[in-house]
Structure formats: structure tokens, C-alpha cells
């Protein structure tokens, strides 16, 4: 027996222990296989869930600039104050401090919190300034936090408000070009997969799931300086003449770019607290009206193109009244026998009607159609009006006649500016462009080169010796047309409600600018286009030529009153200064 105690372990015990080891080893081996092969995915997932996070890479809304790169809309970071409703409800004692800082009442906060107790998140106040946010942060109220967001600022304020438009609180465009080009400006946030450490700091960037695509800045065609001058002059004129509203559009006739577009009444897009809906409209693009006398040049253009008329063709307008199918067409006075040119200079309705009625309806209509009336000008601006131009198929004689002096059709300020740009651009009607573009916009031919030049010569006379004398700009030749339009209400034409219009181009020899001015219902006693709108044009163009460095082309100063005073008084000229409807 002593041999058994000193040395070898009994065989049975050895086998049992080995077997036990073997079983444990097998179990471990099995566990290893199980972990590595079978449940590995599940475990990996959970491991990742502990410290892998998807983080979004934010982008903010891109800037809008004018044609010279000056900012007109910029997004700037601000903070939003948010809270967890349940915790807010628990810490009512801290509410006075919070509400005092944010400028809200406790009742307001209560109304916010009470219905949302089951939610995790609630905006208390959005777009607060960094100072206010810092103060709220300093209060250290449990359940209240700060979230970064962006706020849109418009440094040019009411001057560019109608064109640029504005965004809503979520920084998406609501009106104007902010709306039209929202997709381009917004950009898309990116997404990154990262590993965060215990403290929430990003330790490693595992993968870029989606690249951040920042928006592209938008350069609009507007020139901020011209826009300001136009706005200042329009605002002053609207106040002086007691008008309800007004618009100015300035266009480059060669490229179709809108250099200035202003309206009254306007609004401050930075502070839209007490806003009246009617102030938001970009009237120059959305409001339509009958163009009146400003359409006469188009009738004359159709006449010239037909070959049957020249500027000196005589038209008998006596006795100043003309019956068309039971309706009366009237001039302010009996002009007798006048040339086609004088029909424009003296603005004769009878003359225009007689010219129009002698033309084929289709011929007349085609001219108006080629000038872009009756359809949208294609500016891409939301709410753009298309106006009305009735098809010639159903024209009665009186409709053909009234169309010749601009009644029975509706146009917007943009339409009219564009049509005169065709006259300025040697007969080519430009596409309206609201954003600065590298390539010149395509143009379509509305009239021949010679017709447009003849027309410009006649329109120059309107300004030098006709109804548009107040539109003269010293040092430059100006061509243009006045209009004084009776406004129509439901039952016909209102007694003393007018639109005062002037549209012109400068220099008349090779125009660089076309501008249109309208004042709606001037109530100060004067209402003729030549007295109310033409001077606004002159003041605006005087500044514009200086801003844009347009060289003068009329060295004698363009002040042709000296020439007239020096000559023997001409009764025709003296009378021509009296504007006609």
C-alpha cells in the first residue's frame, strides 16, 4: 500500500480529472465557436450601438448678393431655446427668471407646456440673439437647453424686400426669389458615422455616409445702388403726390437684366411683426393694368411694319371725336391733320384708332403678341402675371380701336418695360432675367431694326417737345412715352382715379437703360403722366447715368427749352405740352 501513496495517482482518478478537463475545454471551445461564429453579428451590433453614432454635418442657407457681389440676404447663427416639458413643469419656481429674459409671459409658457407634458422636446423661443441665449444658459435651469439655428438678415431692408422676398422660421423661402431659388440656396446636410468617447467627444471618423452639399450663393441682376435711388425717388413721389402705390422697373435692354425693381408700399423683411398682406406683393410683376397711351408706339410700330405708313403720313383727326360702331373715341382737343409722328407726340387717341382700323386685325395683334403681351415675361418670379390680350378672332371694331391706345388689354410693369426694351434693343425683345447670368439671354425679333430706330426718333420728340418734357435729363437724349390711364372699377371707368405712367430709354441714340414709372391714384391734384411720373424718371436717370458711368451723348445739355424760347412761339408746340388721355 505504501507504494500506492508515494507516486502515481490511481488510474481511475486520473482519467476522471482528465475527462473533466476535457469537458470544460470542450465547453469553452464550444462557447468560443458560438461567440465567434454564431452570435458575432449580434454582439458586434450591440458593441457598435454603444459608441458608434451617426452625426449630421449641418449646412446653412447660402447668401444672396446683388449683381456686384454686395450681400442682400445673409444667414447668421442664432440660438433657439428649447425645453423638456415635464422638467419645465416641475421647476415652476424658475419660470419668472426665464420668462423675463425671453420677453414672454408665464401664461404663454404655461400654454406651451401644459398640452405637451408627454413629449420630450418643445421650442420655447426661436431665433434669440446670442446675448439672450448666453443669459438663459447662465440661468442653468434644468430641462432647458440651447440649439443652434440660423436666422436670415436683409441688410438692404425695405429697398429690396419685394424682389428678394423672405424666409420662414425654418429658413425656407416663402416669397420672392428666396422662394424661387430655395432649392439652390438650401443645400443638403451631410452625414458622418463616428465613434464617440465616454464624454461625447468625437474620437474617430469611421465613415462619411453622405457628403455635405452646401448651397450655392445667388447673384441677382439687381444693382443695389440703382435700386436704392429708384426706391428713394419712388417713395418721395408717392408721398408728394399722395398716391396709393407705385412701381419702378429699370432694365438693361441688351441683356434683359432687371437692374432695379421697387414698389410702394413696401415692408421691412427683418421685422415682419405688424405686416399688412398687401404690402408683400411685388406689384411690378403681379399687378396688371391697362397701359393707355404708352401702348400707342406699338400701334405705330405695326403701322410702320405694314409698309403703309411712314412717320410723315398725314392722319385727319378732326374734329377730335371719332365714332366707332356706336362708341366714341375722343381726343383732348381737335388736332386737325397731323403726321403719324405727331399722333405720338400729342398722344392722339383718334389718330391711333384710325391707324389701327386701317390695319389687318391679325397684323396689329401680332405686333402686340411679339412684344410679349398676354403671356408671362418668363422672369421665374412667383406669382408673375401674364396679363390679357384678347385674340383678334373675336374683335369688334371698337376693340381694335381701343387697343390702339392701350385700353382693353392688361399688362404688368414688367411687360411694358420689356416691350420698350425691344424698341431700345433695335427690335429684339429680350428675355427677362432676374439673376445675373454669364450667357446673354436669347432674344426674339419683335420688329425690324429700322422700325425700332424710327420709333425711337419719334419717341425722342415726345420728350423734347411733346408730353414728356419733364423727363429730359441734362446731357443725354431721352426717348419715351407718357400715359394717363383712367382706372376701371366694376361699373366702367372711375371718374377721378388715374394711373400716371412714363416709360423711357436713355440715351435715345443707343439706349443702355429702359425705365418705367407708375404712380397709382395720385391725389394731389396733378395726375398727368407727364407731370407726375416723368419727373421721377428724370431724377432717377440722372443718378443712374452717374452710377453706371454712361457717357453723355447730348453735349448741348439736352435742355432744349432754350432752343424753343429762342424761336418764334409755335402754337402747335405750346398746345402739345398739354398732355392728352
Amino acid at each position: 500500500m505504501s507504494e500506492a501513496r508515494s507516486g502515481t495517482v490511481p488510474t481511475f482518478r486520473r482519467h476522471v480529472i482528465l475527462a473533466l478537463f476535457g469537458i470544460v475545454a470542450a465547453m469553452l471551445g464550444w462557447r468560443a465557436i458560438e461567440l465567434q461564429l454564431m452570435t458575432s453579428e449580434f454582439l458586434q451590433q450591440h458593441g457598435d450601438a454603444r459608441h458608434l453614432r451617426d452625426v449630421s454635418v449641418p449646412v446653412h442657407r447660402s447668401m444672396i448678393t446683388d449683381r456686384n457681389g454686395e450681400p442682400v440676404a445673409i444667414s447668421t447663427p442664432v440660438q433657439a431655446v428649447w425645453g423638456v416639458p415635464r422638467q419645465l413643469a416641475r421647476f415652476r419656481g424658475r419660470w419668472p427668471a426665464l420668462t423675463a429674459e425671453l420677453g414672454i409671459t408665464e401664461q404663454y409658457l404655461d400654454a406651451l407646456v401644459a398640452p405637451r407634458l408627454d413629449r420630450e422636446f418643445l421650442y420655447i423661443k426661436r431665433q434669440v440673439s446670442p446675448e439672450t441665449a448666453a443669459a438663459v444658459d447662465a440661468l442653468q435651469i434644468p430641462g432647458v437647453g440651447l440649439l443652434e439655428e440660423y436666422r436670415r438678415y436683409y441688410p438692404t431692408g425695405e429697398v429690396t424686400a419685394h424682389v428678394v422676398g423672405f424666409t420662414n422660421v425654418d429658413d425656407r423661402g416663402q416669397e420672392g426669389l428666396e422662394l424661387s431659388y430655395d432649392a439652390q440656396l438650401v443645400g443638403e446636410p451631410g452625414m458622418n458615422r463616428v465613434i464617440k468617447d465616454r464624454l461625447g467627444r468625437v474620437v474617430e471618423e469611421v465613415e462619411q455616409l453622405k457628403a455635405a452639399a452646401p448651397g450655392t450663393a445667388l447673384a441677382i441682376s439687381i444693382d443695389k445702388r440703382l435700386q436704392y435711388v429708384a426706391y428713394r425717388e419712388l417713395k418721395a413721389a408717392v408721398q408728394t403726390h399722395g398716391a396709393r402705390a407705385g412701381s419702378i422697373v429699370v432694365m438693361d435692354p441688351l441683356t434683359g437684366e432687371v437692374l432695379a425693381m421697387v414698389n410702394q408700399p413696401s415692408f421691412n423683411p427683418n421685422n415682419r411683426r405688424e405686416l399688412k398682406g398687401q404690402n408683400y406683393r411685388n406689384r411690378a410683376v403681379t399687378d396688371i393694368f391697362e397701359p393707355g397711351s404708352t401702348a400707342k408706339p406699338f400701334t405705330v410700330a405695326a403701322a410702320l411694319e405694314s409698309g403703309a405708313y411712314s412717320p410723315n403720313t398725314r392722319i385727319d383727326t378732326s374734329p377730335g371725336v371719332f365714332m366707332v360702331g356706336g362708341h366714341t373715341v375722343q381726343d383732348a382737343r381737335n388736332n386737325g391733320v397731323i403726321s403719324v409722328k405727331d399722333v405720338l407726340v400729342r398722344s392722339s387717341n383718334v389718330g391711333a384708332s384710325k391707324i389701327a382700323l386701317s390695319l389687318e386685325p391679325q397684323l396689329l395683334w401680332n405686333m402686340f403678341d411679339r412684344l410679349g403681351f398676354g403671356r408671362t415675361a418668363g422672369s421665374g418670379f412667383p406669382g408673375e402675371a401674364s396679363g390679357r390680350l384678347h385674340s383678334f378672332y373675336n374683335w369688334r371694331e371698337i376693340e381694335q380701336a381701343t387697343l390702339s391706345f392701350g385700353y382693353g388689354m392688361s399688362v404688368s410693369a414688367l411687360h411694358l418695360t420689356r416691350a420698350y426694351a425691344a424698341i431700345a434693343n433695335d427690335g429684339m425683345l429680350p428675355e427677362v432675367v432676374l439673376v445675373k447670368s454669364a450667357a446673354p439671354a436669347p432674344a426674339s425679333r419683335a420688329m425690324s431694326v429700322s422700325t425700332s430706330r424710327t420709333l425711337r426718333r419719334m419717341l425722342r420728340q415726345v420728350v423734347e417737345s411733346g408730353t414728356g418734357r419733364a423727363a429730359r435729363v441734362p446731357g443725354y437724349t431721352v426717348a419715351g412715352k407718357t400715359g394717363t390711364v383712367h382706372k376701371a372699377d366694376g361699373q366702367g371707368y372711375a371718374e377721378h382715379r388715374y394711373l400716371s405712367l412714363f416709360v423711357g430709354m436713355l440715351p435715345a441714340t443707343r439706349p443702355r437703360l429702359v425705365a418705367f414709372v407708375v404712380l397709382d391714384e395720385p391725389s394731389g391734384g396733378e395726375y398727368y403722366g407727364g407731370k407726375v411720373a416723368a419727373p421721377v424718371f428724370a431724377r432717377l436717370m440722372h443718378e443712374a447715368t452717374r452710377i453706371l458711368n454712361i457717357p453723355p451723348d447730348n453735349a448741348r445739355g439736352g435742355d432744349t427749352s432754350r432752343v424753343i424760347i429762342g424761336a418764334a412761339p409755335n402754337p402747335a408746340l405750346a398746345v402739345a405740352s398739354e398732355p392728352l388721355p
Partner: protein, 87 residues
Amino acid sequence: MRVAMLLLLVLAVMATAVDVALTRHDSRRMFAELQKLRQARLALDREWGQLLLEQATEGTHGRVEKIAREQLGMQPARPLASGDSGQ
């Protein structure tokens, strides 16, 4: 000979293991620096935006005109004469 080879391989494995740890550490450090620079860029970008806004607001034509007229007594430029040479 075989023992020498084995020893060499063991040493190589240990060297690469240490290298992995060092590289990992370097990578984390550089990433932290990258994040800091990104934050700095973001902050500068914001400051640029705010300065641009400030410049645009202070340089608003209306404001400049008001200051020029009221505080500095200036007038808008006018042509010396209306261009006529006495005719």
C-alpha cells in the same frame, strides 16, 4: 537556426504590435487636432458672415445719405452747368 528564426519572428510580431498601438495613438491625436481646426474654421466662417452683415448694414445707402447730409453737410454731386456753352 530554427530557434533564431522563431525568435526573430516573435520580436517582429511584438514590434508590429507596439507600432499598431503607436499609430492608433497618433491617429487619435491628429483627429482631435483636425476637429479643433474644423471648429476654428466654422467659427471664422461665422465671424466672416457676421462682419459681412455688419458692413452691409452700416453701409446701407439710406444710412450713408442721412449721415452725409445731416452730420457732414454734404450734397449730391451736380454737373457744374447744365452742359450748355452759353447758347
